[in-house]
């Protein structure tokens, strides 16, 4: 480890990464150190077992889904770029961003945060949260604490309220609509220190 500049130079394509994600150089250095700390065997990339070593994550009822969100379909390795890109979802929303239709939305926009949360529910990635998928999440979050009937009734009620086009599943738009009033920025953002 060395000063900010020398660590930054060790990260390939760091300029593009910073522009894409909006992290500052200081953030990049700290995230790089964290990446290396998680990569105990110094492979240069992370695998799902490295995440398994984080105790607080193992305690989290949806811990394995979160880990799954980092590894895109079928991949077993996660390089630093992808690691940072996913974490960028959790940067607080930039309030003064001009709404320019030609510029693609930043990773941490409200819409992209919602998409990230949506994929935690939608494990088979068909663009809809089916009743079965909803039940799976409920089971993960509640397991032994409620009966199967209670789980099913909660699932049914939720779908009833959110499903507007009556297809027994919740699409991304219906998801977004049902969360209109929730302050997504606050709930899906992590305050990165200087």
């Amino acid at each position: 480890m060395g000063s900010t500049a020398s660590t930054l130079s060790k990260i390939p394509d760091v300029e593009t990464l910073m522009q894409e994600t909006g992290f500052t150089p200081a953030h990049m250095v700290r995230l790089y150190d964290r990446f290396k700390a998680l990569d105990k065997e110094r492979k240069g990339h992370l695998c799902p077992q490295d995440f398994g070593a984080i105790k607080e994550l193992a305690e989290n009822p949806i811990g394995d889904r979160i880990v799954g969100a980092f590894f895109s379909q079928g991949q077993e390795t996660l390089d630093f770029h992808s690691f940072v890109r996913i974490l960028a979802h959790f940067r607080p929303v930039d309030k003064d961003r001009p709404r320019d239709p030609n510029v693609p939305e930043p990773i941490n926009s409200r819409s992209n945060k919602l998409k990230f949360a949506f994929q935690l529910y939608d494990q088979d990635k068909d663009g809809k949260i089916s009743r079965a998928e909803l039940l799976q999440v409920l089971r993960a979050m509640l397991e032994m604490q409620v009966t199967e009937e209670q789980l099913e009734s909660i699932a049914d009620r939720t779908i009833q309220e959110a499903d507007l086009d009556r297809d027994e599943a919740i699409s991304f738009d219906e998801f977004r609509k049902s969360l209109e009033k929730v302050n997504i920025d606050h709930k899906m953002s992590i305050r990165f220190l200087r």
Partner: protein, 454 residues
């Protein structure tokens, strides 16, 4: 030709002989004799003050060098990368609900946000991993192993550092190794001799003196500068002394100020020799490897020892493993079930002079001892806390937590719920269930049956 060499030979021999004698005399007068009587010349404290001044100077120069190059000194994160919300699960979810529909609590799609965010926060920065790496310093103590700002070390600093290396490896290390051998050797020899005496007051007295003397020599072998606080609370016979664990040196630090009965597994080799001779002079508790698994046997031996008022207090480290001295982890409840007085002790090391934490997954024992003996010094503070007993309505786990909290508070360490064994094992499902239970309470409400965890 031969005649030329003889005088040189003689001269060389004489010189070697003289320097050896001087060396041993200095050693005896300044270190071993005070150790026997428990006195101190104050040389070590003077040394400590001088070192501190040099370290401050070194750090200032590094900061100056960094400012000239218009860069920032990399201050390793002592406060974490992110600011975590201290709000609990219930608070957060209620808040989220209030912004959505009001009314009765029921599942909402947004509930997942809480778990998601908490999960990602722990990916970026988690409490436990932080505790198992060596603590990171704000100023540089001229040891390469704790320097993160190599580019800013100027020429003058490099010279100073080089001088430091010479002193540490050329002067201090041989001195310390000699002392260590003397201390351990004396321990084995003296305790074996004392073991020949018949049991009685004389034997106990002599064995205590012998143990104290040898541990004090070992303390000087590490150049450990220890400050003992509240000595009126020192552990007494028939009790158990518990302390937080950072390194194997903890034993030497505590045992040089009071006499304890040690507990441990029987080892082979040098350790085994030391253990066998120690137990001849006074009753320590050494377990065979097979006996360790049998918890009842262990508990019985401990309680038998404690019931005998003539035997010394037992020294136990309930965390079960070495922690990096910034926090106290979960205490194993075994020693708290015995039902006698517990004397808690808090040990806090000052990391500026040398990091005493033993990262057993990174370094072996020999490597670790080499590190210890080539640091500047080991500076630590020991606080003896007032004795505690288990209350009527407490179980062993609650008592253990109470003791742990007291130790953490006194030593200025963070009190963590986590089990030190997590260093090696996976998280037990108990913790996940706790989260699920909390969430279900929010959802289903207090009216429904409260499923109690076994």
């Amino acid at each position: 030709m031969d005649s030329y060499l003889f005088p040189f030979d003689n001269l060389l021999c004489m010189l070697l002989g003289i320097s050896f004698t001087v060396w041993i005399t200095l050693l005896l007068v300044f270190i071993i004799v005070p150790a026997i009587f428990g006195l101190s010349f104050g040389i070590r404290r003077l040394y400590m003050k001088t070192l501190l001044k040099i370290f401050e100077w070194a750090t200032l120069r590094m900061e100056r060098g960094a400012r000239e190059k218009n860069q920032h000194l990399y201050k390793p994160y002592s406060n974490g990368i992110i600011a975590k919300e201290p709000a609990s699960l219930e608070q957060e979810i209620q808040e989220m609900r209030r912004s959505g529909q009001g009314g009765e609590p029921e599942f909402d799609m947004s509930d997942i946000f809480y778990f998601c965010r908490r999960g990602v926060e722990s990916i970026v920065d988690d409490e436990v991993t932080k505790r198992f790496t060596a603590e990171e310093l704000e100023s540089w103590n001229l040891l390469t192993r704790s320097n993160y700002n190599f580019n800013h070390v100027s020429a003058r600093l490099t010279v100073l550092w080089g001088l430091g290396v010479l002193i540490r490896y050329g002067l201090l290390l041989p001195l310390r190794v000699t002392l260590a051998f003397t201390g351990v050797g004396l321990l084995v020899v003296l305790t074996s001799i004392i073991g020949l005496l018949p049991n009685g007051r004389m034997k106990n007295l002599l064995s205590q003196k012998a143990h104290l003397m040898c541990y004090r020599i070992c303390v000087r072998a590490l150049t450990a500068i220890i400050t003992y606080h509240d000595s009126e609370n020192k552990p007494k016979n028939g009790g158990i002394c518990v302390a937080n664990h950072t390194s194997p040196i903890d034993v030497i630090i505590l045992a040089s100020d009071g006499c304890y009965a040690m507990v441990g597994q029987v080892h082979g080799g040098l350790m085994g020799v030391i253990q066998r001779s120690m137990v001849k002079a006074c009753p320590h508790i050494w377990f065979e490897r097979s006996e360790v698994k049998d918890r009842h046997l262990v508990a019985k031996r401990l309680s038998d020892h404690v019931a005998d008022q003539t035997k010394l207090p037992i020294l136990i480290f309930p965390e079960g493993t070495c922690i990096n001295n910034t926090s106290v982890m979960m205490f194993k409840k075994g020693s708290f079930e015995i039902g006698c007085t517990v004397y808690p002790v808090a040990i806090k090391y000052d990391p500026r002079f040398g990091d005493a934490f033993w990262n057993s997954s990174k370094f072996g024992m020999v490597n670790y001892l080499l590190h210890m003996m080539s640091s500047w010094a080991i500076v630590c503070s020991v606080w003896y806390l007032p004795p505690m007993r288990r209350e009527e309505d407490e179980d062993a786990v609650q008592f253990a937590n109470r003791v742990k909290a007291a130790i953490a508070r006194k030593g200025g360490l963070v009190d963590l719920l986590w089990d030190g064994g997590l260093k090696r094992e996976k998280v037990k499902d108990v913790f996940k269930e706790e989260q699920q239970r909390l969430y279900s309470k929010v959802l289903v409400g207090g009216g429904s049956e409260d499923r109690s965890r076994s």
